[in-house]
């Protein structure tokens, strides 16, 4: 069936190709550039080459990464495997994936490789893994910056020319993308990004979502140590304070907007009235002026007084960022470990009903499992078995936490703990969580669709479905089993790891 309607599928995929990929829209060469060839170009011989054809000019904003390729992507690669993990909970036997233009064009059973297209056979195909707690690709000093503020943009600190080795290692292990954070240990870390880890990709293609989440941390050891219990309480106050300022800021902006509109409306009405009564008023004025002259008095002009213009709240980038968090536009990732701090944080954030809270670390979260589940708070765990030397906030680590949270219905995610080099260990960390009670299904979800959903990139990553980005893995066994090896890794449809 899939074979028959293949051409249809390509056609179906085409409009989404031209419209959706944000990475393409961000291409630094604006499409209009070609429409306006500068006559003073020092290399006139290149002009005819660059001169766009008329129909290209007429096309709306369809920027192309490679201008040589037609925007209507044909199939470029066909994968076939014994088992295709389409998404968590759906595994197809003997299935294929057709890839073109960096995207999945079709996925399912009964697909055949089109003529002349490269075919890769494997045992298992699944979506590439996503690390929701990393700093890989962030310039190292920025990653550890403790002086960030809510408006700090991680996308300003991305360095796609450093740590190539670490990113290649992460890819090799099947981690194709990560939520990365500048100021990862900062009280308020700013706005994090979701990036691809393929070292061959630079900005902007590598940036899947430039502004993906806000970040904060409470009670963690920073630099020389952590604070005492009072310092930690103050940290919660400051986070909630920033959120409240953001909320109020937005409220005052909205108030201002309406007040300004009302003010403008009133002026307009007043003007219309004056316009309407202009002739009469002119006559009256002339008469009054004449009267005054006659009586030898000074003529007093009637003045019209405008209402005072409402004052605009002074612009504040931090408040603006936190307002987006308060209204649920950006999720808020908070690294917090101790039970007392988790309790205080949950309590203080209760009034913010639209907030999308994600806890990271959450060492002592077990007693709050039911509340986390009912409030829809996801939790990112770092299930690395710790020995006797632990940070104070991690002293009560218990790896059964993942299973406990899952049983209570909490969305469990797994991250590498913002330690760049460990991003490659993400599948092994997931296995550790499995060993202590997390179901394999939940662990797979945590590394794929669950993470993609939490970071608002589920339209691009997390499953093997038509229209999604072709960031895929081909494995020689079941995913998340430590003896399984990654054979091939695809990033945006390109084979970036192969045996």
């Amino acid at each position: 069936m899939f074979v028959k309607c293949f051409s249809l599928l390509v056609l179906c995929a085409a409009p989404s190709l031209s419209a959706s990929p944000a990475a393409w829209v961000q291409d630094p060469t604006p499409p209009e550039q070609g429409q306006d060839p500068k006559p003073e170009d020092p290399k006139p011989e290149e002009v005819p080459v660059e001169e766009p054809k008329p129909e290209q000019q007429e096309a709306p904003a369809v920027p192309e990464v490679a201008p040589a390729k037609p925007s209507l992507a044909g199939p470029e690669l066909f994968l076939h495997a014994e088992r295709l993990w389409v998404r968590p909970g759906l595994v197809l036997e003997n299935a294929g994936v057709l890839i073109g233009g960096g995207q999945v064009l079709a996925a399912g059973t009964g697909l055949k490789a089109p003529e002349g297209v490269r075919v890769i056979e494997g045992k298992v195909i699944c979506a590439g893994f996503l690390d929701p707690w990393s700093t890989l690709s962030v310039e190292p000093q920025a990653a550890m910056d403790l002086g960030t503020s809510p408006a700090t943009l991680t996308s300003d600190a991305l360095d796609f020319y450093a740590l190539d080795l670490e990113r290649r290692e992460a890819l090799r292990a099947g981690v194709v993308a990560a939520r990365v954070q500048a100021g990862a240990k900062s009280l308020l870390g700013g706005i994090g990004s979701v990036v691809r880890l393929d070292p061959a990709q630079r900005s902007p293609q590598a940036v899947l979502l430039g502004e993906a989440c806000a970040s904060a941390s409470v009670g963690i050891t920073r630099g020389n140590g952590g604070g005492d219990v009072f310092d930690r309480a103050v940290e919660i106050d400051r986070i909630v304070g920033a959120l409240e300022s953001g909320r109020r800021y937005e409220e005052s902006l909205t108030e201002y907007k309406y007040e300004f509109e009302a003010w403008q409306k009133k002026i307009k009405e007043e003007e219309e009235k004056l316009e309407k009564d202009f002739k009469k008023a002119q006559k009256d004025r002339e008469k009054e002026e004449a009267d005054a002259k006659e009586k030898g008095k000074e003529f007093k002009e009637k003045s019209y007084k405008e209402d005072k213009q409402p004052s605009q709240p002074s612009p504040n980038a931090d408040n603006q960022a936190m307002a987006r968090v308060a209204r649920g536009e950006l999720p808020l990732f908070v690294e917090v470990h101790r039970a007392s701090e988790i309790r205080a944080l949950l309590e203080a954030l209760r009034p913010y009903t639209r907030l999308r809270l994600v806890l990271a670390g959450a060492t002592e979260a077990a007693p709050f499992a039911a509340e986390l589940a009912s409030r829809g708070v996801a939790v990112v765990l770092w299930p690395m078995p710790l020995g006797t030397q632990r940070l104070p906030e991690q002293s009560n680590q218990d790896l059964t936490l993942a299973g406990t949270l899952e049983a209570a219905g909490v969305e469990v995610l797994i991250g590498s703990g913002a330690q760049g080099r460990s991003t490659r260990e993400l599948p092994l960390l997931a296995a550790f969580a499995v060993s202590q009670g997390l179901s394999r299904a939940a662990a797979f979800d945590a590394l794929t669709l669950g993470a993609a959903r939490a970071l608002d990139v589920a339209d691009k990553l997390g499953s093997v479905e038509a229209g999604k980005q072709a960031d895929l893995l081909i494995l020689d066994g079941e995913p998340l089993v430590s003896t399984t090896r990654v054979r091939y890794v695809l990033s945006a449809g390109r084979v970036v790891v192969q045996p």
Partner: protein
């Protein structure tokens, strides 16, 4: 970890163990499992492990459990207990004598503290034997020992002689202060007509040589070649890059810990060691969770190490390096019944330790630990 939960944990361990001892040691034990990892690369599906009087009596498929044997049905895998090579943990009073360069007659067994929390932690992670070494601050550190993690058995009281040819043995306040000084001192002491070093020279006592960098490894290889010594190198992270020289020396290699985020280069070096058929073993820092032993092995498997070789490096090869392969490290008739019940393949980090047996006695189980205390459970991670 504070001391009191540890003691509580030990008490919990010993109490039921002691009860079992009285009635259980003579009784045969027959365990049926989905998979049995023999330790020589073979994996038996659906097999039996028969244990009697603390030893393995039979391993195989279609084995008839004897009459009156206690039967255990295990849904999961069984493997030999892991062997940890070259650890300086669990020693009282410190194992480091920094004032003297040569302490050949020192015995690490004299500092061994079976009550140390370290052994309970290792046991819960599936490690049943540990080779104890003196610290690395002496050129000649003393004699290693091999103990079981049940706090009772000692497999070897006077094993390898520990030598250090790394910078760790070079102190600023006593000789030697340089590599050449260290080797000169070592050469000189090899001339002693009797004592431990004479035994080493005669080939009766193997050596364990600490060497970190590749230059140090090469120096160690030259030294052992000159005196035709047997034994192993210790700590040589990149010795795999020298595999063509290490292999002919017949020395084993105890790798430095491959902790989280370790260099890819170190992982590749391990694969090279295996390709050159060098006997090697993984190790961990004394403060680490024993799960990191398997993490290091799994990371190597991910970059190409054969799973069988990775498992050997945690069990049989480690036992061979420690010189106790005739007692532990495999599931084989006649060997000590030291084994681990896993939820699945022991190399899969998604597998957990469910119970650990030493000499056919249950020394640790996840169930008992959960019932016992949360700190004991923590040790199991």
């Amino acid at each position: 970890m504070s001391k009191s939960p540890t003691l509580l944990f030990c008490a919990l361990l010993l109490a039921p163990g002691a009860a079992l001892d009285a009635q259980g040691s003579r009784q045969a034990l027959a365990i049926h499992a989905d998979k049995i990892f023999l330790g020589d690369g073979r994996v038996l599906e659906d097999g039996w492990l028969l244990v009697q009087e603390g030893r393995i009596r039979e391993v195989g498929r279609g084995v008839q459990p004897p009459q009156g044997a206690q039967r255990i049905e295990h849904e999961g895998a069984i493997s030999a207990g892991m062997v940890l090579c070259a650890s300086s943990a669990g020693l009282v009073g410190g194992s480091v004598d920094t004032t003297r360069a040569l302490t050949p007659e020192a015995r690490v067994i004299d500092a061994y503290d079976p009550q140390d929390e370290f052994f309970a932690r290792m046991l819960a992670g599936g490690v049943t034997s540990v080779m104890l070494t003196p610290g690395a601050s002496n050129v000649v550190g003393g004699l290693c020992a091999v103990v079981k993690t049940n706090g009772v058995d000692v497999l070897e009281r006077e094993g390898h002689l520990s030598l250090t040819l790394s910078t760790a043995a070079l102190q600023y306040n006593r000789t030697p202060t340089s590599y050449s000084g260290a080797l000169a001192l070592l050469e000189q002491s090899m001339l002693r007509p009797e004592g431990v070093l004479a035994q080493v020279k005669a080939g009766n006592t193997p050596v364990l040589i600490e060497a970190q960098s590749r230059a140090e490894v090469q120096r160690a290889l030259e030294f052992t070649a000159k005196y035709k010594l047997s034994g192993a190198l210790h700590g040589a992270a990149l010795s795999g890059e020298l595999a063509e020289w290490v292999a002919p020396s017949k020395l084993g290699v105890v790798l430095s810990p491959l902790g989280p985020g370790v260099d890819r280069r170190q992982l590749d070096a391990v694969v090279k060691l295996a390709e050159a058929s060098v006997t090697f073993a993984f190790s961990i820092d004394e403060s680490s969770s024993p799960a990191l032993l398997r993490l290091g092995a799994a990371e190597c498997v991910q970059v190409g190490l054969e799973p069988a070789a990775a498992w050997a490096a945690l069990s049989s090869s480690a036992a061979k390096i420690a010189g106790v392969e005739a007692r532990v490290g495999k599931l084989e008739r006649g060997l000590d019944a030291d084994f681990v019940l896993w939820s699945s393949d022991p190399l899969d980090l998604g597998s957990s330790v469910q119970a650990v047996y030493i000499n056919g006695q249950r020394a640790w189980s996840a169930q008992a630990a959960t019932r016992g205390s949360s700190s004991a459970q923590g040790a199991g991670q």
